[in-house]
Amino acid sequence: MTSNSRKNPLQPPQLAGLEKCPSGISGLDQITGGGLPRGRTTLVCGGSGSGKTLLGMEFLVKGATKFGEAGVFMCFEENAEELAQNVASLGFDVNGLITSKQLVIDYVRIERSEIEETGEYDLEGLFIRLGLAIDSIGAKRVVLDTIETLFAALANAGILRAELRRLFRWLKDKGVTAIVTGERGEGTFTRHGLEEYVSDCVLLLDQRVVENIATRRLRIVKYRGSAHGTNEYPFLLDEQGFTVVPLTAIGLQYAVSTDFISTGVAKLDAMLGGHGYYRGGSLLLSGTAGSGKTSLAAHFLDAACRRGERCLFFAFEESPDQIMRNMRSIGLDLRQWLDKGLLRFHASRPSTFGLEMHLTAIHRATEQFQAQVVVFDPISSFESAGSFPEARAMLMRLVDFLKSRQITSLFTSLTSGGNPSEQSEVGISSLIDTWLLLRNLEQSGERTRLLYILKACGMAHSNQVREFILTDHGVDLLEVYVGPGGILTGSAKAEQDRLDSAANLIRRRDAERKRLVIEHKQKALEAKIAELKAEFELERREMEETIAETESSAQSLIAGRIEAGQRREGTTAAPDKIRKGGRK
């Protein structure tokens, strides 16, 4: 672990096997591919208040507590007590580590006014001092915070630079993994050009304020001999220490699930092909104020908790108590899940901190709670914490992160009344798997809620609009009336139903009457036919009788003539005939 162990930087990192020293700082080891270069010195630079000291301290504390590596913190600005107090707010028990000989804090006090320079000198005193501290506990890690103070104290910059160069080489020879901090300078990473001496790894911390909201970011400027993330990564500094979120590093290669989970509303499940949403999918509920977004989200949570899944509720506009009270009014008891530890609320105002910080906080809370289902209510308020493109970028990373962990997410989004609901979420609609739209409909003096599915990727879904009602036993969906007058809901629908049934009755009666008329007419017709037939029969008979009479009289006439003729001629031809047909 000396300076000649340097690897060829052109070699791929996995082959070069540059030994890494895990920092133990959440997220930092991911973006650096395992930690800081072991046995080398890393420069951490940033403006005042950017978190350099805390990063250094956490590096040592984590080294001592997680990796069994003792550390030396040499500070030039704060004394040991101040430092211990400052980092106690991050949950570090520095004094305990000092007592157990895992940490040494050495405060180097330099008073420019007390010092007069009178010729050649070197900083051997500092080396001896640091060496003593390192040897006293067998330290593997060293932090110098911030050595640049020396530039203010010592006038002879030439000597100082030469000594710094010697110091960094000396640290390398000692085999300790070191962090030196430096104040950000104008146009340079550090005010006094420390980057000139530290060439292995440079981290830049930054705190930017946009619209009164500060966001901390970390960037790996340089990491010789190792692949690393090049983006700016947001980080958090709070009671849990330093948390870097490697969110920008998340790719699109995540596995997806084909399992379904229920929405908590059976009729809604039915609309979504009968199963509900995809596990690990993202769901957007958008609608105007009071359209029932939170209630639907609460159903979703309730169903998830019922299945024994761990749920996180990120509330950005209401307090947890308020949400639970409101949900009780529709018959949902969320408190029971809270008590069972299946549900956790995470309430914060969107404007409390920047988008990146929100993202980081969400990331950490989700990881820590190992949530399977998360709800964000509402995401539209993020626009107030940043610009629209920023909010979109943030949500995209959020969705990516959640999907990569197979966490089912539900977002609610408030759309303003005037806007067409489809437009305001155009930014994130492409990221969302299932999008339900809730609308308020004002009609005949009342307001009703409508629900329909705008999008449901990868599943069969209903194209129908349903009326959405909130009852004291939860959400229910009703069919709506679709007729020539458009969509009717609520009492208008009931009225229409009544009107319809009345109209139906009238129509039925009308038809009945007509049927009777037809019957009657048919009967009349049939009667007429019968009468005509009877008349005809009568006539026919008369006619036939007449015909018969006429025929018989004609015959007897003929017969009479023949008889008369025979008699005249005296023949006896056909006497039978004559007898038969002739007169007697």
């Binding site: 050495d106 180097v108 006090r109 330099i110 008073e111 007390e114 010092i115 007069e116 320079e117 009178t118 010729g119 050649e120 000198y121 070197d122 900083l123 051997e124 005193g125 500092l126 001896i128 001092r129 060496g131 003593l132 501290a133 020396l150 010592l154």
Partner: protein, 110 residues
């Protein structure tokens, strides 16, 4: 504080025992040419300006490394004026006599 001084015996040492108006302590790291030069310069200067009123202690940090921390010594050689108060620190090989005199407040500064 018990200190074991390395016996590079300063020449101009006054009679043993009793308090001196001037208590000076020179911190060095080993017997380098620079530390020897510093001690020589100091001896000469004291003989010239503070004869009989001073005592010089020499501390070798290689022998007593913990003193680097206790006495806040970074640079070597460092000359510390412990008495008269307030404490003054003068770093370097003391080759610039003018500045040493200013540092010891034997001469007003600029």
């Amino acid at each position: 504080m018990t200190k074991t001084e390395k016996p590079i015996v300063p020449k101009g040492k006054a009679a043993a025992g009793g308090e001196f108006e001037w208590e000076l302590r020179l911190y060095v790291a080993g017997q380098t040419s620079r530390s020897i030069a510093a001690l020589n310069n100091l001896n000469q200067l004291c003989e010239t300006h503070l004869k009989g009123r001073y005592r010089i202690e020499v501390v070798d940090l290689l022998v007593n490394p913990q003193l680097s921390r206790e006495d806040q010594i970074l640079a070597v050689p460092t000359l510390v004026r412990k008495l008269p108060e307030p404490i003054r620190k003068i770093i370097g090989d003391l080759s610039n006599t003018e500045r040493v005199l200013v540092g010891l407040q034997l001469r007003p500064g600029k």
